[in-house]
């Protein structure tokens, strides 16, 4: 007789194991199957900076967290309801994040004395009472997998590699995930290696059946689909969404997309993704360094392409001088900064928001650039197109500030209709008499985009200060002052959408104001606060330079403004200096996104001090 089924409104699962155990893949698959069931979801991959940190050590632990629900959610979840731990290290590294009463599934085969001592377990937690406050399932994952594959001609080592699929199968059973998609995925991935494919399929099925049959698992769970606006969806990460946004922008503007990039975590996937898009005429140039990367992008822009460079903080620190040339030449240029933990090499695989002031001021002289920041993984698509709109309309470098959290994290994305995408066409300067390269459009203050190959407008530009209108070299003091102010005015005058405040009661006195990837945790916190009857307003800044026109009045409206940032208060500093408003910074610099609870707590303090 079938096992009972309990329905839940949401679940947070974390898969954890060695870097070698394939936890990212396992998590990805579970996410895909979950997405296809129509749950809303949010993910948080986490892996060590080393390619393969030493086996069985705390440092070597790689994990993937997935939050899915029958309603709209904002974050990967604070505390897992269920942890899959492939070895003692994975258990030890993650146990403190679990809520009491959570379920733990471990591979008991891995709990050998040797592995236990490696991570400093004096006694086996499966045997002592240390896990009493959790529901523990000790499953001999490894031996069960190996046994199941015994008929295949695989070495034990090879067989063991499939144990993540066993785990996936088991969890898929527990949460009623469909099997076909994963089976197809495996067929596609291992098509060329029938033995391995067999092994994975078998392990996956065995895991499923293990749940179905053994006493150990008494119940399974179902989570109804979330009510989401109708449309076609796909699960997407920030890096992929950003790459798609750039491709879309190039199509909508009929401009060749040129990416000049040098690999760096966590930005490399943008280079990888775009290098697959040559069909769209996309040119990807892996340069010798970050300076050459941005230089080539600027050269491409000069030639009439969409010049983009993608990097992370250390790369931006190298590009400053070239970006300054872009400011002087007044050409379109997009700098994607997928922020990571700093300073210096810092925490390369962790997230942070501490490059904001570098983007604003990391160049010599008065060197204004536009700065915008996506709020969620899927928002990277829209903001990439916005970056292109601003860069091409105003002929100015634009910083697109993503970060490791939304770059690698994913969420369901309602795929837009191509017909609904904005038209991004702009005009190049045409053949004309007496061409003036620095004669500006009175509305945008943009100078002509005058590309080589256009007869009759041959001209010379450069990094030395130039005379207004003619663009010739000028050392005239008054002209310099004028040009400095004009470049500043041009950026200050960029049209950006007004910022919307979410203040249902209309009489909240405290505003939670964020930027970039803190949108998720802040929104979740706001929901929680309101559920608890608190009055709180929320607004999110996606345009930082220039700020939305109505920002000042909004700051005035609220007696207290809390600004949570994964830095020491960089947006806060810009707000304080520009609006002289005593905003309250809430800052954590731990390489991790905020938890909902942290922000709720911070807000409560302000609400009730």
């Amino acid at each position: 007789m079938a096992k009972p089924v309990i329905s839940l409104d949401q679940v947070v699962i974390r898969f954890a194991g060695d870097s070698g155990d394939g936890m990212q893949l396992t998590g990805d698959r579970f996410t895909m199957d979950t997405a296809s069931l129509g749950n809303d979801l949010s993910t948080l991959p986490s892996y060590p900076a080393e390619i393969r940190a030493p086996q069985g050590t705390l440092l070597g632990v790689s994990s993937f967290q997935l939050h899915f629900a029958d309603h709209l959610i904002q974050t990967p979840g604070d505390a897992p309801d269920i942890l899959v731990a492939m070895n003692p290290a994975a258990l030890k590294a993650n146990i403190r994040d679990l809520r009491r009463g959570a379920t733990i599934i471990v591979d008991s085969d891995e709990f050998t004395t040797r592995n236990l001592t490696k991570v400093g377990y004096a006694t086996n937690p499966l045997e002592d009472d240390s896990l009493d406050s959790y529901k523990v399932h000790a499953v001999a994952l490894t031996s069960l997998t190996v046994a199941a594959l015994s008929n295949l001609s695989l070495s034990r080592k090879e067989a063991e590699r499939s144990k993540n699929m066993f785990a996936l199968g088991l969890l898929s059973w527990m949460y009623h995930r469909p099997v076909e998609a994963t089976e197809n995925f495996l067929r596609a991935k291992f098509g060329k290696k029938p033995e391995i494919l067999e092994a994975n399929l078998l392990a996956y099925k065995t895991g499923w059946n293990y749940g179905e049959t053994t006493e150990d698992f008494a119940v399974s769970y179902e989570i109804a689909p979330a009510k989401m606006p109708p449309g076609r969806y796909k699960n997407i990460s920030g890096n992929v969404a950003l790459a798609y946004g750039l491709v879309a922008a190039s199509q909508q503007s009929d401009l060749t997309l040129f990416l000049g990039s040098y690999p760096i975590t966590p930005a490399s996937d943008i280079l990888h993704e775009l290098s697959k898009q040559k069909k769209f005429g996309v040119i990807t140039f892996q340069a010798e360094d970050e300076i050459a990367a941005v230089g080539s992008a600027l050269g491409a822009s000069y030639g009439g392409s969409l010049g983009v460079t993608s990097t992370s903080g250390p790369g931006v620190a190298l590009k400053g001088e070239m970006i300054g040339l872009g400011v002087m030449l007044e050409l379109p240029l997009i700098i994607v900064d997928v922020q990571r933990g700093g300073p210096s090499t810092g925490l390369p695989t962790k997230t942070e928001q501490a490059d904001l002031l570098q983007a604003m001021f990391g160049r010599n002289g008065e060197s204004p650039a536009a700065v915008i920041a996506p709020a969620t993984p899927s928002d990277c698509f829209d903001m990439a197109m916005e970056a292109v709109r601003i860069a091409t309309t105003y002929r100015v470098p634009v910083f697109l500030m993503s970060d490791g959290y939304i770059a690698n994290g994913s969420e369901p994305w309602r795929i837009p209709e191509v017909a609904d995408l904005p038209d991004l066409h702009v005009e190049f300067a045409k053949t004309q008499e007496d061409f003036k390269p620095y004669l500006r459009d009175p509305k945008t203050l943009a100078r002509p985009w005058a590309i080589p190959g256009t007869k009759g407008i041959e001209h010379r530009i450069g990094g030395v200060e130039k005379a207004d209108v003619t663009g010739e070299i000028s050392y005239d003091p008054a002209n310099h002052d004028f040009m400095v102010r004009t470049r500043a005015a041009k950026v200050a005058g960029i049209t950006v959408p007004e910022i919307i405040v979410d203040d249902p009661s209309g009489d909240a006195e405290v505003l939670l104001l964020g930027w970039g990837s803190t949108f998720g945790p802040i929104s979740a916190a706001v929901e929680t606060l309101r559920v608890n009857g608190e009055k709180i307003a929320q607004a999110h800044i996606r345009y930082i330079n220039p700020f939305p026109k109505n920002l000042g009045s909004i700051l005035e409206k609220y007696s207290k403004v809390i600004v949570p940032e994964m830095n020491l208060g960089q947006l806060a500093m810009l707000l304080r200096s520009q609006f002289l408003k005593d905003v309250i910074g809430y800052n954590m610099v731990r390489g991790l996104p905020f938890t909902t609870a942290e922000i709720v707590e911070a807000a409560m303090e302000v609400l009730h001090d």
Partner: protein, 333 residues
């Protein structure tokens, strides 16, 4: 495309030239202005991109498209332009500091990739614009503002460095020799791929006479080893013979004409051109001029653009909607 042939005047911009009296840059400029019409390329399809330095002022004086960029980075900007705009003819103008000091890395990577750029390296063996510090090509022991007791660095040999970086075309010429400079420009522009031309350029203010040996009428004939493909490499008094992997300068007559090295600019092995390049580092009495190396290798931008057209030919041009809806998707009704 203009039908009426262009003239030197057409390539001369209205900008006042701002070099010191007697600067070698003047003759290079006027030779370039005279040469460009012969290319038969419309002005708007020619771009000069320079870095920073006295020499890097060059683009202002040519009535083509031009960019005076930042120090050492011209090859990066020019690469982005050339790769995305294969229809253009792109020159890079640079100095010995610009290209070999701060810009060294971009130069060698541009050469190995074989990006279709014609790179003119104005080598005056000094930092001119910053008023006379030693450069990576200054001879060891040079007394300059930054080395009052003499510099200690072994200089780069730009030709050797370029050959070590897989350059497909490398040549040397002299600012004041309009004819030879013109021939060299001709060969460089005919070459598909990166072409590096080292131009000995006199800086009368901070390093005057650096190249007197090859400029003075008394000494130049004997010191200049003329490299002409298919002909023996000779000066008026000396020739070259093989010695192991090296090349040795011998007095004409001391060996039979047939033993003299016949120049082979197309030798697939750069070891030959490299051996030639070492003559100036080994002794300072003989200077090979002309094209050291000129071999056929696909240009980078043509390869990049082929890769794109091939995939489009195979799979058709990309369709945005199918990209966005690719992979696992689901529909919410």
């Amino acid at each position: 495309m203009t039908d009426v042939a262009l003239t030197k005047k057409d390539f001369t911009s209205d900008q006042e030239v701002r070099w010191c009296p007697g600067c070698g840059d003047y003759s290079i400029l006027s030779t370039m202005q005279s040469y460009l019409p012969e290319l038969g390329i419309p002005r708007e399809n020619i771009v000069f991109i320079s870095g920073i330095g006295c020499s890097s002022r060059f683009p202002y004086y040519l009535n083509t498209f031009g960019m005076h960029s930042i120090h050492g980075r011209a090859p990066t900007i020019a690469s982005g332009l050339a790769i995305s705009r294969p229809d253009l003819t792109v020159f890079v103008i640079t100095g010995d500091g610009d290209s070999l000091s701060i810009g060294g890395n971009h130069l060698i990577h541009t050469l190995r990739r074989n990006v279709e750029l014609k790179i003119l390296l104005f080598n005056n063996q000094i930092y001119g614009l910053t008023k006379g510090q030693y450069s990576p090509t200054s001879e060891q022991g040079k007394i300059t503002k930054s080395t009052p007791l003499g510099s200690l660095d072994t200089p780069f040999n730009p030709i050797s460095l370029a050959l070590g970086a897989e350059a497909s075309f490398v040549a040397r010429t002299i600012d004041s020799d309009r004819k030879h400079l013109t021939e060299t420009l001709r060969a460089a522009t005919a070459h598909k791929g990166s072409a590096l031309i080292e131009i000995y350029q006199n800086c009368p203010i901070f390093n005057d006479g650096a190249f007197d040996l090859v400029k003075d009428n008394e000494t130049k004939a004997a010191s200049l080893l003329q490299m002409v493909h298919g002909e023996p490499i000779k000066s008026s008094t000396h020739g070259l013979v093989h010695e192991g992997a090296s090349l040795k300068v011998v007095e004409l007559g001391s060996v039979s004409e047939n033993d003299l090295v016949i120049h082979d600019a197309h030798n697939p092995d750069p070891a030959y051109a490299f051996a030639l390049s070492r003559l100036t580092s080994m002794d300072h009495n003989h200077v090979p001029v002309g094209v050291f190396r000129d071999v056929v290798r696909p240009g980078y931008s043509s390869m990049v653009n082929n890769q794109i057209s091939e995939i489009i030919a195979k799979q058709g041009a990309g369709d945005l909607n199918s990209l966005l809806t690719s992979g696992d998707t689901w529909v919410v009704a």
